[in-house]
Subunit: 159 residues, 2 copies
């Protein structure tokens, strides 16, 4: 099962290495991780998606809470939340393929953000299923390059 | 100056801790970092934004290339590229504030992805300037929660 963990941290040297080291030290592979500043530039938020045993995860969360630069840890899997991810896909688009690609892009409400004679670069946000579906549809055209942010998540409602 | 580094890695335990450790060990703070799978699930791509001296950065890049799980390192700052980031912002929206927020959301071509009596959650993609502008405009309403993916980037054109 995949778990989505949100960690608020002081924006300091080495905090990322310490947090990710806690997971890898326990044999957890990190599926995706995003870290970026919040509206307070001294504080960053990490969103980490991991697979693994829930009991071990609870131990890791306890250890995270003891780290000096960690402000707050939430296991969003246990709350109602919204998940989103951003992907950029560069696809080869010779000759008549471009119209076919455009059609799929429109259906997915994605955007074309770069184009030349040979390629089209697509931007899309969505949950993991939507992004996987777009990637599958683009594979036959030839994916030249693909970058995903990994998942970010926010709790629902006003609590 | 901010540098955007793209690192293709084998999707293995501990690679994230090793890569981020190389930066913090040299006193580089990581502004943002995203890591997610590519179209090949055994391979992940990390996009790292750092500030610091360019000469030291070149040394770090050389060391990154020597790491066993690192496939390719590109300094995208030196190539033409497109940058994007995703942000989720939960804003308090009591009474008549919602219409005001909606107006800003429309101007920015952002999206409302969650709403209740007290809050509105906004999703937007863009470059750093666009995202900072939206955050500034939302501050007066009261930002309850903010999550950013950090920057991802892809080279322009068909090379």
């Amino acid at each position: 099962m995949k778990h989505t963990i949100s960690v608020l941290v002081e924006n300091r040297f080495g905090v990322l290495a310490r947090v990710s080291g806690l997971f890898s030290g326990r044999g957890f592979n990190i599926d995706s991780l995003c870290v970026g500043e919040t509206d307070d530039p001294t504080v960053s938020r990490m969103t980490i998606v991991v697979r693994g045993d829930e009991r071990v995860l609870e131990q890791i969360i306890k250890q995270l809470r003891k780290l000096i630069d960690v402000i707050k840890v939430s296991n969003l899997t246990k709350e109602e939340h919204v998940e989103r991810e951003l992907v950029l896909i560069k696809v080869s688009a010779m000759n008549k393929k471009r119209a076919e690609i455009m059609e799929i892009v429109n259906i997915f409400r994605a955007k074309i953000i770069d184009v030349d004679h040979q390629i089209v670069t697509i931007e899309m946000t969505g949950d993991e299923d939507k992004i996987s579906a777009l990637i599958e549809l683009m594979k036959p055209f030839g994916i030249k390059e693909l970058v995903r942010t990994g998942r970010i998540a926010i709790s629902r409602g006003g609590r």
